[in-house]
């Protein structure tokens, strides 16, 4: 566990440990963009080494909520947050939190693959070099490990110096996943990671996500209901900034508690 674990505020010391059961813990979280209330009083606990899908119509707040976990919203003008978010026992919005350390711990994969205009090797090694790792052998080992984990190694091992931009869309997305894995996070945030991919590439990424669950806690935002039901253990349904329902995926997709959830997943609104 990296430095984020060592960052503890006074508040966390006095509270009961949540790390035994939950990896991520959000409590009474609200988000404002200026006067606009984007997230309204959401609490959620996420178990380690599980896959949680965030679903909901566009603008419901699911991506905003996802980006709270690695403080990506900090860059948004007029962003303001209330409530508390902890990873293990550390309050990630505490004053002592080192955001760079947090982002090593919490990797992110975006909707469109965004490789750097560099070689395949350089793309994966990028994060390690930023961290100040200079040992070439260690970097090579970590690059190989990340590419293997991302199920890309066999396809690129003979062309590591080739430009990453020459890869197909699906390969580029797996490269971005490898780049994220190389810095050895414990949490992966994925914001619609397959929405720009064809069905074969989508299937490969889904299979990969499923494999990664053994080592990582994964949260995925998706508009694809079948994807959510295929790969996730838990599903959270958001609507207009509210968390309407959060439960085991098999419950949500067979017998949801709330009518709004039922209407959304069956395609009757949204």
């Amino acid at each position: 566990m990296s430095a984020i674990m060592t960052v503890k505020t006074d508040e966390t010391k006095t509270e009961t440990s949540t790390s035994e059961k939950y990896k991520l813990h959000a409590k009474n979280v609200s988000v404002f963009y200026g006067d606009f209330l984007a997230i309204n009083n959401i609490s959620m606990n996420i178990k380690p080494k599980s896959i949680t899908a965030f679903i909901g119509p566009s603008g419901c707040g699911k991506s905003t909520f996802l980006r709270l976990f690695n403080r990506m919203n900090d860059y948004v003008d007029d962003f303001k947050m209330e409530g508390k978010i902890k990873i293990d026992d550390a309050n990630i919005y505490g004053k002592k939190t080192q955001v760079e350390e947090l982002r090593k711990e919490v990797g992110m994969v975006f909707q469109k693959p965004n490789p750097f205009p560099k070689s395949i090797f350089e793309n994966v090694a990028y994060g390690l070099k930023i961290q100040g790792i200079k040992d070439k052998e260690l970097i090579a080992q970590r690059v190989e490990k990340a590419l293997v984990q991302a199920d890309l190694w066999n396809e690129v091992k003979d062309n590591l110096n080739k430009s990453a931009l020459a890869l197909s869309g699906g390969q580029q997305q797996r490269l971005c996943i490898a780049r994220t894995l190389a810095v050895e996070p414990s949490i992966l945030l994925m914001d619609e990671p397959t929405s720009a991919l064809d069905p074969i590439s989508t299937a490969k990424i889904e299979e990969l996500i499923y494999q990664l669950k053994q080592d990582y806690t994964i949260i995925i935002v998706t508009h694809n209901m079948q994807q959510a039901s295929r790969i996730s253990d838990y599903t959270a349904f958001f609507y207009m900034g509210e968390l309407i329902e959060f439960d085991k995926t098999k419950k949500i997709f067979t017998n949801p508690e709330k009518k709004q959830t039922e209407n959304y997943i069956t395609g009757r609104f949204g």
Binding site: M225, Q226, S229, I265, G267
Partner: protein, 220 residues
Amino acid sequence: MINIEEQRVALSQIGEEMLSLCHNQVQLAYEAFTIFDTDLAEEIIRKENRVNALDLKIERDTDRFIALYNPVASDLRFALALLKINYNLERIGDQSFDIANHTVDLNQKLVPELVDRMQFNLMYETLDSMFKDVETAYINENIKAARKVFKKDKIINEINTNAFNIVAEDAVKHPELIRQYLMALVVMKKFEKIGDLLKNISESIIFYIDAEILKHKKKK
């Protein structure tokens, strides 16, 4: 109405048609057997083809619904329940078909006292009422009506058990009627089976409406 809703309504209507057709087959089977009407029996035998055709249509359309519309939650439960309901209805059709064939094979009217003693009337009235409950439950998504079926099935089982004892006693007294007694028992067993199948259908309707699985549960 969105497309999946339209498809579901269309499927539900075919299910309703199958229910009504099988209900009618049981009505005819009762009449044909108890009043010995071979015309009615032959009508049942002819209509069995329609039952089979509808069975195949429901199966094919439901498979297509699942494949093309990826139903979830209540849509998925409906599709799964409809497949089971259809399977049980088709078997009810088979039971009616068998009763019709037995009627033709027996080739004689049952002695009225035997019909009364074995309570064929009560058996049929109970089955008819169970069918009506199932239809109400299916069409109006009425769980209360579905649950009534379980109690009524106990009446059916009791009549069937008693019939066995009656035949055991009476066949000794009237050995000349042994063929009628045996055939009456066989047909009674078929009606009893229809009761069981209606109970299965009620379980599927409750699963669809309430996501509650009652299969193999003693208390329903």
